[in-house]
Symmetry: C2
Subunit: 591 residues, 2 copies
């Protein structure tokens, strides 16, 4: 482009170049919050038919929508805000993307350097605004002709850093200063690579174990009595299953592992099983292979920590998942290639009834859970999780809130064909519905309907996810388990130690707000489910109709604790024949 | 306290000590978001009858409630969150407190060091989470007996730093790690100072001008044709008025200056007056005394910048308010003492019709605004601002949103007896309703009802301010000027440069949500005002009934631009006799 002194032209040309390079780099989605300083980039994004642009009034929610898009597609969405607290509002989503390893390109508009720190309106210090929670931060300053040859690299690199950054996928932050005028017509862009290629191509690499590493792991694992704990990021299901078969080990499969498809051999009720002390003692492993992120179950974590087993933790992005310091080997490599290498090098696997004992216990537990839930006509929280996992079609995505829903799905969901997603980087209850909106938007590129499972507090926390939602053209059903407050606290020591008034004030926190009234204010229809058997049909109806629906399932916090206990008792009773004297561990009532 | 190895006892004792010291330091309010890791401090706060504790489900809103409390009282409120993104959610309110100079004590619960960076749940890097946007950051680590002698200092200093920190009042951040168990009974606290005194007493100082400084300012200002621009933080009204009288200068009074009480001589329509080129040229000053934060008017700022006048900027907290680089003197001192010193040292003041010309123009402008608004039976946005300023009782507080409301109040509000507050640190539209909730809560300590003036986008952005609001026992009326989208953009070049569809997509952003439906979902009643003359009565009724109300005033974005122009035309016409040939400057249509 020719040198020019017209800031409007410079802004427009710079932004059109960024967007062109993002499109070449495979970006398909942008989320834009209204603002003035961000005008040049907002217009450039909206001008490209290759991009789907969502406009969102609340930047916090916009950040989580972009997070959901990145989580579902593996491609970063671009989220754009104007300057000031609008930019700050993205911080929660950035932290979640950072810790969960979700690609995200954050673009914040800024005022130019000469307007900083002099009382100019809507001007805050946005340099390194998100601290260490980004893979990459860049601040190119106001567009300058002399730097035009670097613009394509800037945008292209932002995608490479978000997808293939050191430490794996995550958020990047471009802080973009614009001088007035903010409007202008773009000059011809700096030339890009031929054939529409992006300026930089990243990735195309994979870290695996070398010969020494493989020998070390094989020496520890081969022939030992082991378990695989498969979390999110565990690697390809076929590889996990193949190694489990080769070794004769059970797969303790987290809901997000992808290893819960019905028919595959996996342990889906580890939490309930391991609450039975006798069983837990009888199945102590010698080795543990931990793949990806850890499950939510404290009971499982405690059992692993107490096992004395040698533990191998594998994570593709090199995250150090080891709160109990029990990992003997930390393998920062692609789990799939590690699993395949191990399967090839294993000699014979462990012989005996080890796998069979786990499988038998799993079958007993699963039947016991079903039996308990069949006895409840009123909706129960474990029952809602199980119904969703069982009844949703295989092309659906299930976005599960932190707090109780992720636990109910992990512990009681059972087999499921759906893809389970959750914000488990920082485990916040914020932004869950917006994340689901992002996942639902991503379904336009591939996939079926999206269902979110959230509690009433998480739903209300993120009620601004509903802004504009009815018009976004998505298929999203939001199931709100409504126990009028914070249900998880009923499982914590606070519930027994405090008097009811204090507990309800600080932890129970009833609010009395009907989620369906909030939904209705946003033009979204809703249904209340009051009997357990209705839920599957209501869900089916919502999915058949398409569009956005809220399904409210009314539960009770105290009754929820009781049904959890009832299930644990039933699982213990079911194990009694094979593990006589088993009682559910009362100390394990918690979450 | 005796050394103990019981973490529950340590946590409880540490927290009870912090709270005791906060109470001694004058803290009266806390805002607590539900969480588990924060349990020790939540319980300690709730245990003290001297403290009013608000529980809020949304940390972002909780932060702004605490901001409003600090803004209204000058005392920091304590806002407490659990760990993880819950803590991150406070960032917008912290940035606003930082830039607006509002005292705030942020307490975030954290997991202990040994649970960091190992995949433990709800654990993020909270060290210096808010970057440079705090006056003080402290991270004492998990409570340890050996450090017990420092606990009182920690809490007491947090208040001193928030109220009297270097750079003036602002936010402080205590990141507090707790080990399990989180419950325990407090041991005897470390002894405090006698007589219930706080550990540290800060403040009690004031920076004023010395002899050399006074001589320099007097040489510049005395006898010159000057104007005073009085913003928030301008100093005591009596001192401003006394200097204006001594010098014969007009006071161009921002709505937040406190200098707009009816009957006092001040220029309240500077923006409209200075849009008339002839008038603006006729009243160019030789000197300008800028007190506190600048008004929102770009027209006023541009006129000052072009004036060539010598300009003296005074700010008590040393903020450098000078976006146009026109300040010749930057006086970082208490405005009141500067004003009194100047008034004593001034020789005679400027003689002539200078003040009279301003006063006459002001009277003409005010009458013209009244006449235009009297001609509109339908509600107008300038009319809403004027009605609020005129009709609210003197003991009320008016919390005004950024974007158009602050401009409408500044430009068209006219005389008012109420205290006008706004988030003008970063000028965000986020958290405005929550800030008003905080101001309304503060009224329990002193003051009358609170009224908020917000647009529909700001209202919806902060709809979670309504969580629990009906039960907070406050008198708060929220006036929502509802033009179904972002009204300010209709005044920007984007409105004329873009086609309607693109403009509405990115800037107009209609949402179709009725604020009253959102309010109703939270059990809050509302009224729609469809005729301008109804508003005063509806307001009076709401204030008489007490409690929380939402008043929706339906306006139209295009009509709003037209009525602004109509007012500017009328003011120009009114000035025509004294300033023949005056036309409103069409280039000054913007905001």
């Amino acid at each position: 482009m020719p040198p020019t002194a017209d800031e409007g032209v410079l802004n427009a040309t710079f932004c059109a170049t960024l967007v062109d390079e993002w499109v070449r780099s495979g970006v398909t989605d942008a989320v834009v919050a209204p603002g003035s300083r961000s005008t040049p980039l907002a217009l450039a994004l909206a001008a490209r038919p290759e991009l789907a642009v969502q406009v969102h009034h609340d930047e916090r929610a916009a950040g989580f929508v972009a997070l959901g898009l990145g989580m579902a597609t593996g491609r970063p969405a671009v989220v754009l805000t104007t300057s000031g607290t609008a930019a700050v509002e993205l911080h929660p989503a950035v932290v979640e993307a950072h810790q969960a390893g979700v690609p995200l390109v954050v673009a914040t508009a800024d005022r130019p350097p000469e307007l900083h720190d002099v009382g100019a309106p809507q001007t805050v210090d946005q340099t390194h605004l998100f601290g260490r929670a980004v893979r990459w931060f860049a601040e190119p300053g106001p567009p300058a002709p002399a730097a035009a040859s670097t613009w394509r690299s800037l945008a292209s690199r932002s995608v490479v850093e978000a997808v293939d950054g050191v430490g794996g996928p995550g958020p990047v932050h471009l802080n973009l200063a614009f001088r007035e005028p903010l409007l202008g017509r773009a000059a011809p862009l700096p030339a890009g690579r031929g054939e529409g290629e992006p300026w930089h191509v990243g990735g195309g690499t994979r870290t695996t174990v070398d010969r020494r590493g493989l020998e070390g792991l094989t020496a520890v694992l081969d022939g030992a009595r082991g378990v695989i704990v498969a979390g999110a990021g565990c690697g390809p299901v076929d590889d996990v299953v193949a190694l489990a078969d080769a070794a004769g080990w059970p797969i303790l499969a987290d809901a997000r592992s992808g290893c819960r498809s019905a028919g595959r051999p996996a342990i889906l009720h580890a939490d309930a099983l391991l609450r039975c002390e006798r069983f837990a003692e009888d199945v102590v492993p010698e080795v543990v292979l931990r793949l990806g992120a850890p499950p939510a179950s404290k009971v499982l974590a405690g059992w692993l920590a107490a096992s004395g087993a040698r533990q191998v933790a594998v994570d593709a992005d090199g995250r150090w998942f080891d709160p109990d310091r029990t990992a003997t080997h930390v393998v920062r490599a692609d789990p799939g290639s590690v699993l395949r290498a191990l399967a090839r090098s294993f000699d014979g696997g462990w012989v005996g009834d080890w796998g069979g004992r786990w499988a038998a216990a799993e079958a007993s537990a699963s039947a016991a859970v079903d039996a308990v839930l069949a006895g409840h006509d009123e909706p129960t929280e474990p029952g809602v999780a199980r119904t969703l996992c069982r009844s949703l079609p295989g092309h659906a995505s299930l976005v599960v809130s932190s707090s109780m829903p992720i636990r109910d799905v992990e512990w009681f969901g059972g087999p499921t064909a759906v893809r389970v997603l959750a914000n488990r980087g920082a485990n916040g209850i914020d932004g869950v519905v917006s994340t689901a909106v992002g996942v639902a938007l991503a379904a336009r590129w591939a996939g079926g309907p999206t269902v979110a499972l959230v509690g009433d507090v998480a739903f209300l926390h993120d009620s601004n996810a509903l802004l504009g939602l009815a018009a976004r053209g998505v298929d999203l059903t939001i199931v709100v388990v409504d126990n009028d407050g914070g249900g998880i606290f009923s499982f914590l020591p606070q519930a027994e130690a405090l008097d009811t008034e204090r507990f309800e004030q600080l932890f129970g926190t009833p609010h009395g707000v009907d989620p369906l009234a909030v939904a209705a204010a946003h033009g979204i229809d809703g249904t209340t489910v009051t009997a357990a058997p209705e839920l599957a049909g209501v869900l089916r109806g919502a999915l058949d109709r398409g569009g956005v629906h809220v399904v409210r399932v009314v539960t009770d916090r105290a009754a929820n604790v009781a049904v959890h206990r009832e299930i644990h008792d039933a699982v213990a009773a079911a194990l009694a024949s094979s593990h006589p004297g088993s009682d559910p561990n009362r100390a394990g009532d918690g979450v």
